[in-house]
Subunit: 232 residues, 2 copies
Amino acid sequence: MHVQFASNATARAVPQGFFACLASETESMGALALPGVVCKKPAGETLFREGETADGVYEVISGMLRICKLLPDGRRQITGFVPAERLIGISLGGTYSYTAETITEVVICCYRRSALDRLMLERPKLTRHLLAAAAQELHVAHEQMLMLGCKDALEKVASFLLLMAGQQGGGIDATEVHLPMDRHDIADYVGLTVETVSRTFTRLKRSKVIALRTANCVEICDWDRLDEMASR
Amino acid sequence: MHVQFASNATARAVPQGFFACLASETESMGALALPGVVCKKPAGETLFREGETADGVYEVISGMLRICKLLPDGRRQITGFVPAERLIGISLGGTYSYTAETITEVVICCYRRSALDRLMLERPKLTRHLLAAAAQELHVAHEQMLMLGCKDALEKVASFLLLMAGQQGGGIDATEVHLPMDRHDIADYVGLTVETVSRTFTRLKRSKVIALRTANCVEICDWDRLDEMASR
DNA sequence: CGTAATCTTGATCTGATTCAAATGTCGTGG
DNA sequence: CCACGACATTTGAATCAGATCAAGATTACG
């Protein structure tokens, strides 16, 4: 496969869904060369900022990023956490409409927007795959709006935990959920303050629905009640 | 153009962006027949519900719809108001992830998912157009999350008014903004109660930033201050 | 007109924020 | 290994923005 590795890249993980989609196309296998560049970034780095010209689409291979938007006075909304196998940066306008920052060390694969644009015209399936990804993102965004607008603190935190548990894969009953982000990130995601998030965690702890191994490792003890608490 | 008109259809408006995209494709103009069905719906009707199998994509020709999601206990989040020239129902999963209801009488054009799916493989530009629409929706969704999670009542209502003013087209300085939805809809959109929305309107009125011709016709008197109040 | 709905206003209550301090965790260097 | 400091998390007490409950005022409509 025709992939350039950047500076400090690791070859251990191979891009999954997106790349697979490209590889499986029967037509013009010879000209497959989508110039995806795999590279590694340390935790706490900015991949791109809201407003910058959107010249790349990224696939997360391992690690986690946060997507956020800021108000002029510094208030921050985290609109999503992006785990492995997901794309970021689909925007198709001239500029990114959000900022992407690494939470952990990540390995990502970068595709240049210009190359993608060219390919999309030749590869209907690629475009459809991107459309599917966008539709999925949109679905998640709608769920989050429901949470932000309607739910109270307990419901928000419960929903957040279930979301994390879900995207941690591991299937049902993988009771150990690891939270790579800090309380401040969680707070900005659910639209509460750090203090309220912390209080809510202890509330869940006291009611024996969860247990905290460490501050960022949650054991879910009672899935059914957590589900109820999330109000769906 | 090959369009069927349903029962009580009006021919006055011709589908814009989406249709135009199809028509402008050079290839296979003969087989252009995308079976779009134009029809009229009265106010207060449900176009489709969250969870139903998503078998259609709709283009709004005139009028306005609301997109909403419900919690089991009836709490409602309106995730968007859809004006003319916009698409609803891009989901690509098996089911709609939200409910669409008419606020005013609307004229819409319905495209069957199956037909669209077939066409997408032949028409890269169509798929790209859908992708662009999805990306735009995603951008708006992110803005709304920022609003729901970070802003206070005044900022929310100000943002809402600016959004409505903006999508009312009419260019800048079209100070008359018509609000086809009721206060309850607005409340569920910005994540407040009807009472708080009402109080906020009077607050804006007293500070001479807006004036209310009627309950659903707002005159924006001071754009700059409204802009500040929205915090961007 | 009169009735029902929507919208506005007022008084009170409450969940979340704010401010402040204590506790816990981790890495560094003595 | 332990002491120290920096930082994240938790807890507590006071305050406040928005919700709730309860009337009025206004508009729409048969």
